[in-house]
Amino acid sequence: MERFKVSPSELEGAAGTLGRVEGSLGCPTRAGGELGSAELESAVGAAFEAADAVALAMADALAGAARNVSANASSYAATEAASAGSFGAGR
């Protein structure tokens, strides 16, 4: 009867993956002067910051989605069972 097949742990896994991405950014190798070009240092810094921000936002977004799926999956199953044969069937 259960038709909702997305495993919350799958999305949790995605969120965790993104969390790791976020954690892997902002590494110390972009220390001042090591690249030998101020322009490149600046551009690389911007790349790290942008990636950091995106990873943070995506991690939040996926964590939120995963949390919601996790919280509502059981409700879904119950609701679908109650409405079987009417609206929910075949979804």
Binding site: L35, G36, A43, S83, F87, R91
Partner: protein, 380 residues
Amino acid sequence: MPEVIAGIALPEGRPGAAFEVAQTLDAAAAGFERTAGTVERALAMVPSWHGLAAIAYQDRCATYEQAATSAANALRSAAADVRRYGSLYDEAHARIERLQRAAEECLARIKVAEREAAEAAERERAARERAAEAATRSPLDGGYSLAEHADAVREADAAADDRRRYEAEAEAEREELERLQKEALEEHERIRQAGREAGVATQVAVEGMPRVVAPGAPPAGGRGGFEALDPFALSLTAGAKSIDALGGASRGAERAIGSLRAEARRNPRVSWGPGSEPPRTQRLAQSRSTAKMIGRFAKPLGPVGPALDLAANRAQGRSWGESAGRTAISGGMAGLGGFAAGAACGAVTFGLAAAACGAGGAVAGGIAGDWLGDQAFGDG
């Protein structure tokens, strides 16, 4: 300070550093790629799921996947640029080190030649003195000696030849040193040029990154205004496709607010508000068509929808009064249709990307799957 040898300085920076940075960028790109893959797998797990909730889910997943892929591509591209620069830098650094060694040897040869020239000059001076002395010697001291004078003159001439030869050698070595120093300067310039080009290329690559946008920010942007916001939706913009990452006013939004505040504190580069009109315009069209469809099935979302409308209007630069009025109209119109104003209605009216937070909207008391979609993807 870089080491300076024989007037040649090593370039700023460290060989291998660019490759380490490129490796880190690649690692970050791989993280995004893994995430895109995970989202894709999650999407592929439910091929038989249909309905509005499924549409919302698919749309959301596709957006995440696209955003992650865009980020990965941008980082890969940046890594390639940095790596290319790293190759050039390391080669140039090695060449400059070789030039330093050559210049150092050159300098040593100059010193030897100058010393030899000085000694030859001294010999010449002494020989000329002897020749003069022999030519002017008084008979009391033995008188003029032709042989002695001739020997002294020969010796002076030989010393003069040596001096000239060593001076010429020193001059040639000085010219060689100058050439080496000039070559080193050219290498420095080559590094500078490559750095500039790599910087521009990296900037261009970063342009391809999805941007994090807080839709409610005032046009002026900046951190100061952010504190006063109610970012009900956190948008990820990836090329032509954009959708909210978190919608609603629940825990998710609170968490997003906290994250964005933290981000704002440490990252002033994040663009707030209506900072990306082209993708925003493109996504509006998409949001409108999606929202038009789901608007028919919108269900009450409590205060979230009107609040979203309000935030959207404020983001459009409207006054609080006008925003409130438009919000009321939006809510009223949706209410006339028998449905309360939801995030979807907000998007229909004002094009806020947060519309998609209601993308799983369902008929109140109706379709279970859509209800779940709303709960799972709509209400934060």
